[in-house]
Symmetry: C2
Subunit: 320 residues, 2 copies
Amino acid sequence: MHIVVPAGGIGAARFLRGLRAAAPDAQVTVIGNTGDDITLFGLRICPDLDTVMYTLGGGINDEQGWGRADEAFVVREELAAYGVGPAWFGLGDRDFATHIVRTQMLSAGYPLSAVTAALCDRWQPGVTLLPMSDDRVETHVVIGDEETGGRRAVHFQEYWVRLHAEPLAHDIVVVGAEDAKPGPGVLEAIARADVVLVPPSNPVVSIGPVLAVPGIREALEATAAPVVGLSPIVAGAPVRGMADKVLAAIGVQASAAAVAVHYGSGLVDGWLVDTSDSDAVPEVTAAGIASRAVPLLMTDLDAAAAMVREALQLAAELAG
Amino acid sequence: MHIVVPAGGIGAARFLRGLRAAAPDAQVTVIGNTGDDITLFGLRICPDLDTVMYTLGGGINDEQGWGRADEAFVVREELAAYGVGPAWFGLGDRDFATHIVRTQMLSAGYPLSAVTAALCDRWQPGVTLLPMSDDRVETHVVIGDEETGGRRAVHFQEYWVRLHAEPLAHDIVVVGAEDAKPGPGVLEAIARADVVLVPPSNPVVSIGPVLAVPGIREALEATAAPVVGLSPIVAGAPVRGMADKVLAAIGVQASAAAVAVHYGSGLVDGWLVDTSDSDAVPEVTAAGIASRAVPLLMTDLDAAAAMVREALQLAAELAG
């Protein structure tokens, strides 16, 4: 069985760990969001790809969900001593090495897909991790500009890590998406998918940029394989992160049903909501999307695996 | 008093520490060798500039003479885990930060001189540290090629650090020197020098590349200020390093007198040899260079300061 999973960072990574446990024999292709990528200290950083790679490769700082386990911060301390920032992006020494290797390979002319494959040679994540695109795509958040009274766009990382998602987000702009091409293997993977699972990642800034690359949404809509998503909103709030704020920015309510409708029945064939949101099931069903309520809190690996099994079960029923 | 010092790495740095102690009120301009510079892991590394900066700024690993004190090696370990080399160049985590800052600034378009000034803002070495040139100059060593039976050129760092100066050096080529321009401030510093001191650095691969930049040797030869050098060869052997091997490569004997003659009376007006080489004094004098024998082993700061005082004394006598 070949399963395709468009993916963001922490939520997707934990979901994928559940998928590896629930379906160890499945061939899994992950289409990773690169809209969060950022260049800091002259180094190219791909937070979502790295979170998936580290999590599945056993190198993640499990407690915080991102970055490396057993991490040290000597380089950051030294950069600060030079007065070189930003200090708000906390890169550890082990993590720095990944970005040094990536940047060196990119500078040598390798596309991000080849670089990602090379990094995964070490981590052996047990999935094929493909960047959504080798082209530069960058998610920006439009916030108010206190100085001018107008608005300004900041990189998603600045909005999220530096500003803690506190400023009101007026809009989300995926810069460069319309000119981006799907990364090598992305459309081919979707074409031969038996199942597509949309994990409970942020629908706007994690899955949204993946779908914004021309050809990817179309391929997911065209596939004969069942596409089953899991709600990132439980009881009207995101399980983690700031999905509610960026959903509001694009005019979508932070509810399990509204996210399903936002994706649309053209994209998702099935939709799991949390048991606490069982009243959303009729609304989702009315939108032409098969739905059921199951526990959706990824409290541990077993819980994540159970969610995956529910999603695969729904997919099997939809494939009929 | 304004003292100008063309400088290599460890020997020059320790000599300069002696200079700071012996003449704390002197204004010192260091013209640093950049022929050893190398790009590794996509990062620009300037070993000699950094050794001077760290040594005078109090950040040096005093025992080994290069690199940072209290160093860790997490990044190197991680790079090795990715299979990314070379492993033979042992960069520490603290050191990596310097190269990250430098590379980022160079990529942003700043010349090496501006980058060096910015790094020195942190280290406050108490001297003005100028790269000999902002242009790329690279010292290569011509060695035998076992595979073809012919010869091949390797970067000086590869010859010295990786190959431990074991292969026979047939020639030294300072690639790019003839097209390089002196760095900003270099000629101006020489023009207003009261004294020029040539430290006991390697005459071929440390001082040689500085002199190979068109205009620098000429300025040193033209200055009215006394130029006093100190022999890096004591009792027929280099105090440290592989000066004997690279001297042989350019056909110069490894002796205190031969190095003075190699520099030439047009360049150096005075030359100190070690007390164990007192028999070299007549030969050097005969070459038109004032000479005397004094202790030249930089066993500690006091010894280095004493050497500087001897050099300044000779310079004062020469200035008459």
